[in-house]
């Protein structure tokens, strides 16, 4: 069985060739790859052995672990049984205590330089790292050992990628990202609160298919997931351009799916593929459900994007030719012209749309 491919394994589980190719197509779509590459993905998956993966949790809420359970392409069952060998994951693994620790040390010893480490949660450095210890060892020392000997590390969720909520001002425990805690290692950041699990599976498949990690932006995020602004792919963009804004929760504009910019939506400054792949197998995403984007994949979003419900002061306005690299963490000068243009357009449209908005929903 050792020499069997993924497809062999799947077919023994009753997965047809057709379903397998469908899965490869879904992967290509998530990765924004042309369909001509589907055979290559299929070929790669058929050849590969199950790569070993370990999942480490530090200062976290297990939201990314919960997200993993929602994986659909492939499902978590397929991931854990067929595609990967998830040798350590505190939440789902059977053993505990010394037996669990053995599973982790076995991987570091037996698969040195060949396994993938996934980290969920930030790592506290203050006071010698006492704020997060597992089995008496600090998160920092554990991460250094496990990530330091891994082929690559995937930081899932904004806490692992950038420090996240534990690092929010005043950052009492000195929480930092994996990259800061273990300098010099190869890290792919998959931020989000939580990460979108389809981006995690796509990253793994990218590696299995191309033998390399996906191209990353200057914040360490794959372009395939973070290359475009939410605002530019937003299903409500036409309402922004038309100056039709939600002004109150439940008003007529809100019920008709107008733009949430005035309700504090951070979509104009956020870079992620939420509008395209959505969550829970395409069921919804925040804007579709009537709530603005919080910009949860942005470094320090808890500090820089609050108050969450206050309108962004400087929206870059029109144009889709922007990336996080150009705009930067704050708002670059390139946005200034757009702001002015938008302010004028906005003032005009605000006047026009006033009569149309929300009385019906506020009857009582």
């Amino acid at each position: 069985m050792e020499g069997d491919s993924l497809f062999d394994k799947l077919s023994r589980r009753g997965v047809s060739r057709r379903d397998f190719i469908k899965f490869c197509s879904a992967m290509a779509a998530t990765l924004a790859l042309p369909s001509s590459l589907i055979p290559r993905i299929a070929e790669a998956l058929e050849k590969k052995q199950k790569p070993v993966l370990v999942w480490l949790e530090y200062q976290d809420c297990a939201g990314d672990t919960e997200a993993l359970l929602r994986a659909s392409k492939p499902t978590v069952g397929e991931l854990v049984l067929d595609i990967l060998s998830v040798d350590y994951h505190e939440t789902i693994m059977a053993p505990a205590g010394t037996q669990a620790e053995k599973s982790l040390t076995d991987v570091v010893k037996n698969h040195k330089g060949k396994y993938i480490a996934v980290v969920e949660g930030s790592i506290p450095l203050k006071d010698g790292g006492v704020y997060c210890c597992i089995g008496g060892k600090t998160a920092k020392d554990l991460a250094k050992e496990v990530c330091g000997n891994a082929l690559a590390t995937i930081a899932v969720g904004t806490c692992a990628a950038y420090g996240g909520i534990p690092a929010a001002r005043p950052n009492p425990t000195g929480a930092v990202s994996v990259k800061e805690a273990v300098p010099g290692i190869t890290v792919v950041n998959l931020p989000g609160c939580p990460m979108n699990v389809e981006n995690l599976t796509a990253t793994v498949v990218y590696y299995l298919t191309f033998g390399s990690l996906p191209a990353l932006d200057r914040l360490g995020r794959p372009y395939f997931a973070h290359g475009k602004r939410i605002h530019d792919n937003c299903e409500r963009r036409s309402h922004f351009d038309a100056g039709q804004f939600v002004r109150k929760w439940g008003d007529e504009g809100h019920r008709r799916g107008w733009c949430l910019y005035e309700m504090g939506c951070k979509g104009p400054e956020a870079y992620m593929n939420c509008p395209v792949i959505k969550y829970n197998e395409g069921t919804s995403w925040p804007v579709q459900a009537g709530h603005g984007c919080l910009g949860c994949a942005t470094p320090n979003f808890w500090d820089v994007n609050t108050p969450f419900y206050r309108r962004l002061p400087h929206v870059p306005g029109f144009g889709v030719e922007t990336t996080a690299d150009k705009i930067g963490v704050g708002i670059a000068a390139v946005a200034a012209a757009g702001v002015a243009a938008h302010a004028v357009a906005h003032a005009v449209r605000k006047k026009e749309s006033k009569e149309e908005t929300g009385t019906q929903g506020d009857k009582k």
Binding site: L81, K102, W249, H291, Q360
Partner: protein, 498 residues
């Protein structure tokens, strides 16, 4: 959110109440099933033993306890084949180094195979049914829809961008699927497994005090006691009296926690006056064990009238049972009768596991009721989802304080807030796992986990599956370290609870 609503005197619209009930309801159902199959079952189920099962006998067993349509011989044969392939691959992943073959595993191979099949089925089921929460709250996990004053999901039967008739149908379909699995798979499996582990009705009792804030509001008053699962306290396992809950009687100690209070460690503080100032005094890492005579935990020790309290499904079901809740009483009595045990069996590890299943069933039954309420509001043109009177912080008083009660799946969750000049002056959360995982207090009283482990037999200290059974039965929130100390104070084993 509810603490702020309480501080500012905000009442939410009826639709917000209903949507919150639906989101919490499906969360209970999904979370409890995941807990049973994916976080707890392997303490009771030996996967490797499933390889020895006879698929035909497994099918007979499954058919004898439920009419779930999948239970055929070929189905179980297929599952067994998958497990064999997986085991033969030599890459056991998260199942490597498990306690397989441990003498504490009591299920026959057929029951193990049935449970493994349902472990896999539940993985697919949970992904599907939780879409109710994604529809109402944008995504799961981490719904993004809760607002101070209501919810952000609009309602309008004549819009494609709001909850409409299609949404009602979507939720109805998935809640039916949720309920069917609970009735036909989870509950029969729970009873089947429990019948082999009846001795666990004598272990894991804990502190004997149970607290529930009440959940699933029947009216829109903030922190209303008018809840479908009632609010109350049971003291010292006495089901004859349900005591009322007064939030001012809740305090937290830091005597054995790595914090310091300005007034010293001897006195507990109410969360409104709570302080969270770190003062680590444990050993320098890496360390092997902690000294429980000193400070040894990052959790504070919450107490009610100076008593430790257990929280969670068992507390909610006991409070409901003792309050005479009709449906809960029916199901609890039915389960006790099936297992042939008395009500005293509820105060145990097994009671905790059973209570979670009972709660799942009764909650799944309520999903269509709340959904009907939403549809009825929609029908009469009641679309309000948010009370915006206090949305602008300019409308707030200079100072305000409030508290918010909620019952998370794993237990009582309270938030306390002080607001000054439109900003948070103090915010304290007392969460389920601090109640249950509480370290000792100034009087040396143990918290529920610690108390529950006393008297638990451990056959092999290096493979302490028995300890996991009790700790996992609480559904602990965190990947945390619990240090087990025997009566002589000597460390016997170190357990990572996951």
């Amino acid at each position: 959110m509810r603490a702020v609503e309480n501080a500012l005197g905000i009442t939410v619209p009826d639709n917000a109440r209903i949507i919150r009930n639906l989101i919490t309801g499906i969360q209970y159902v999904q979370d409890h099933v995941i807990h049973f199959y994916h976080l707890h079952a392997l303490d009771w189920v030996d996967i490797v033993s499933a390889l020895k099962a006879d698929p035909a006998k497994t099918a007979s067993l499954a058919q004898s306890i439920s009419d779930w349509p999948k239970s055929s011989v070929s189905y179980f044969k297929g599952i067994q084949g998958k497990v064999k392939t997986f085991v033969d691959s030599g890459q056991l992943g998260p199942f490597a180094n498990g306690y397989w073959g441990h003498p504490a595993y009591k299920l026959p191979p057929e029951a193990n195979l049935m449970a493994v099949a349902h472990y896999l089925e539940a993985l697919d089921w949970q992904r599907d049914v939780i879409k109710i929460q994604a529809l109402l709250g944008a995504k799961n996990p981490h719904a993004q829809t809760y607002l101070v004053g209501g919810m952000s999901i609009p309602i309008d039967p004549n819009s494609q961008n709001a909850l409409n008739a299609g949404s009602i149908a979507f939720i109805a379909g998935l809640s039916g699927k949720a309920r069917e699995f609970v009735e036909k798979v989870y509950i029969p499996d729970l009873l089947a497994v429990a019948s082999f582990y009846k001795e666990w009705a004598a272990y894991g009792g804990g502190v004997g005090n149970f607290l529930s804030y009440g959940v699933f509001e029947n009216d829109t008053e903030t922190n209303t006691a008018n809840c479908w699962l009632p609010r109350g306290i049971i003291k010292n396992k006495d089901l004859s009296t349900v005591h009322p809950v007064d939030h001012t009687k809740i305090t937290e100690y830091v005597t054995h926690s790595w914090y310091e209070y300005k007034e010293g460690d001897a006195k507990a503080k109410h969360p409104w006056d709570g302080e969270t100032d770190f003062k680590y005094s444990g050993p320098n890492p890496p360390y092997e064990f902690l000294n429980t005579d000193k400070k040894y935990s990052w959790l504070k020790a919450p107490r009610y009238e100076d008593m430790p309290m257990e929280v969670g499904p068992l507390s909610r079901m006991l409070v409901a049972y003792a309050s005479g809740h009709k449906r809960v009483k029916e199901v609890v009595d039915g389960v006790l009768k099936k297992l042939g045990v008395g009500a005293e069996a509820l105060f145990s590890t097994l009671g905790r596991v059973a209570a979670r299943g009972i709660e799942t069933l009764v909650t799944a039954e309520m999903l269509p009721v709340w959904l009907d309420q939403l549809a009825a509001n929609m029908k009469k043109g009641e679309f309000r989802i948010h009370n915006g009177q206090k949305w602008d912080p300019g409308t707030w008083p200079k100072e305000a304080k409030g508290y918010g009660f909620h019952e998370a799946p794993r237990g009582a969750l309270g938030h306390w807030i002080q607001i000054k000049d439109g900003k948070i002056a103090n915010y304290q959360c007392v969460v389920p796992s601090t109640w249950n995982g509480s370290p000792r207090d100034a009087k040396g009283q143990k918290g529920p986990y610690e108390a529950a482990l006393i008297g638990t037999p451990v056959a092999d200290p290096n493979k302490p599956v028995e300890i996991l059974r009790t700790i996992h039965s609480f559904d602990p929130c965190m990947a945390c370290a619990v240090h087990v100390v025997d009566l002589a104070g000597k460390r016997i084993t170190k357990i990572k609870v996951v």
